[in-house]
């Protein structure tokens, strides 16, 4: 075990029934990294994330987070689930959602106290959503709601933050804002982002992992043509005029 590593995955296999999702996946993510996991839909990105978080159990292979099995380091982990997983009609306020991030600091049956509220206040102010603290989460805009869930992930005081599609459902003008927040956080903590949208992300990534059943890890935060072809299994043109960079697949009959 290398103490420089935040995550170590060795020969990981996972399948849903007969469908192999991940096959012989091995890689390491260093502490302080900003790792972006890219790949096609259904390629196994979210599954890999849930395995690292301990929500799913691997068929074979070893996963270590800060040198320990995932379920032993839950208190060091912050997590932003995929936007589509939320029940928007659920009656809950912004404050109550973000307070959930304090659950791991509180024993069963203990009430949240002033310290929890102060912590949440600080995060909500930093993310510019303090004024919405009593609002119904399901009635916020996509961008505001995504900031609420980032706030919840931060309320856990994580040493490593996992984000699954952080800009899904977010208006393009907020996308940069979210990445700037992550860049700022990355000065202190390790960040792992799963995305299928590789537009903005190349400006922030320190390392990139391509997942499409197998995984290829690149220590440089550069997306190359070969990586994309591996990840999307088709020839791709890289077009990089202006910002954001755009990547368009070649059209074929």
């Amino acid at each position: 075990m290398n103490s420089e590593n935040a995550i170590e995955v060795e020969h990981l296999y996972f399948s849903y029934g007969n469908t192999v999702v991940l096959e012989d996946v091995s890689f390491e993510i260093k502490k302080g990294d900003f790792c972006v996991i890219i790949g096609p839909n259904g390629g196994g990105k979210t599954t890999l994330l849930k395995l690292i978080l301990g929500i799913l159990k691997p068929d074979k292979g070893k996963i270590r987070v800060f040198g320990k099995p995932p379920h032993l380091v839950k208190h060091k982990i912050g997590y932003l689930p995929q936007y589509t997983d939320f029940n928007l009609s659920f009656p809950i306020s912004v404050m109550d959602v973000v307070l959930m991030g304090r659950l791991n600091k509180k024993g069963l049956g203990k009430k949240f106290d002033d310290e929890d509220i102060r912590k949440v206040e600080e995060i909500l102010k930093r993310l510019g959503i303090w004024e919405y603290r009593y609002a119904h989460v399901g009635r916020l805009s996509g961008g505001q709601r995504q900031r609420v869930f980032i706030a919840r992930a931060l309320a856990t005081d994580p040493e490593i933050l996992f984000l699954d599609e952080p800009t899904a459902g977010v208006d393009p003008e907020y996308e940069t804002g979210i990445y700037e927040i992550l860049k700022e956080l990355n000065k202190r903590i390790t960040i792992v982002v799963v995305t299928h949208d590789i537009g903005f992300i190349s400006r922030y990534a320190k390392s990139i992992a391509c997942v499409n059943r197998r995984l290829v890890f690149h220590e440089e935060g550069q997306i190359t043509k070969e990586m994309l072809e591996m990840a999307y299994e088709c020839p791709i043109d890289l077009i990089a005029h202006g910002i954001p960079h755009r990547v368009l697949p070649e059209h074929k009959e």
């Binding site: 849930k50 929500i55 689930p81 009609s89 009656p91 307070l99 069963l108 949240f112 009593y134 919840r152």
Partner: protein, 268 residues
Amino acid sequence: MWAALQFEFMRNAILAGIIIGILCGIVGTLVVVNRLVFMTGGVAHSAYGGVGLGIYLGFSPFVGATIFSILNSIIMGIFTIKDRRRADTVIGVLWAIGMALGIIFVDLSHGYASDLMSYLFGSIIGVSKKEIYLSAIFTLFTIFWISFFYKEILAISYDEEFAYIMGVPVTFLYFSILILTAISVIIAMRMVGLILVIALMSIPPYIAEVFTYSLSQMMVLSSLLSIFFTISGLWLSYKFNVSSGACIILVSGLGFLISYLLRVFVRK
């Protein structure tokens, strides 16, 4: 209505209606937000197997129904916690098997099962003082349990995976919700019968969900609506001399329709 209150059975019925209304409002809220409505239907219907077993073996059908509903909720819980997509099938199968068992047991029982209809359709008028006390004690216990674990129950209801990562004992609390629901179903069965209990558990929370900003508010509003529906249904059934369970459900259904129309037109 005031004349009706002179009868003890009517006062008992109203008291039971208030207690069951509170219980259904609280537990029904958890059922709706956790999307357990279909499962609750399955638990209620399969409890008929326990009613039949009780009649056949000569013990209280309510005890049989309670055992069946708790066991079924645990079995359904095991399937749903592993794979939510396959749970529908299992629930459907247990639902049908439970009812079929009940029918066979009743067929095998000699003599006329006089009050079978009261299990299917409820008979709030026949509720005893003892049953009221038991319902009240269970309702108080439910309120205590849910307030004690409120922040954890809120977290698993809203986002189970996140709650797991936060170290919340998801499985323990999930099964506690299922067992509370199973017992509530049996208590509410006294009121509206096992066929209609699902409506009493789900309609008030469906209405309340739209107008509230927190789970606890939703529970309070659901309870108030439940009480209102049961008392007005009871009054209508007395007034027109028709089944109380069906009246309660029809009033609830009407309430749902009004709230739905309000939502559609007010939002426009």
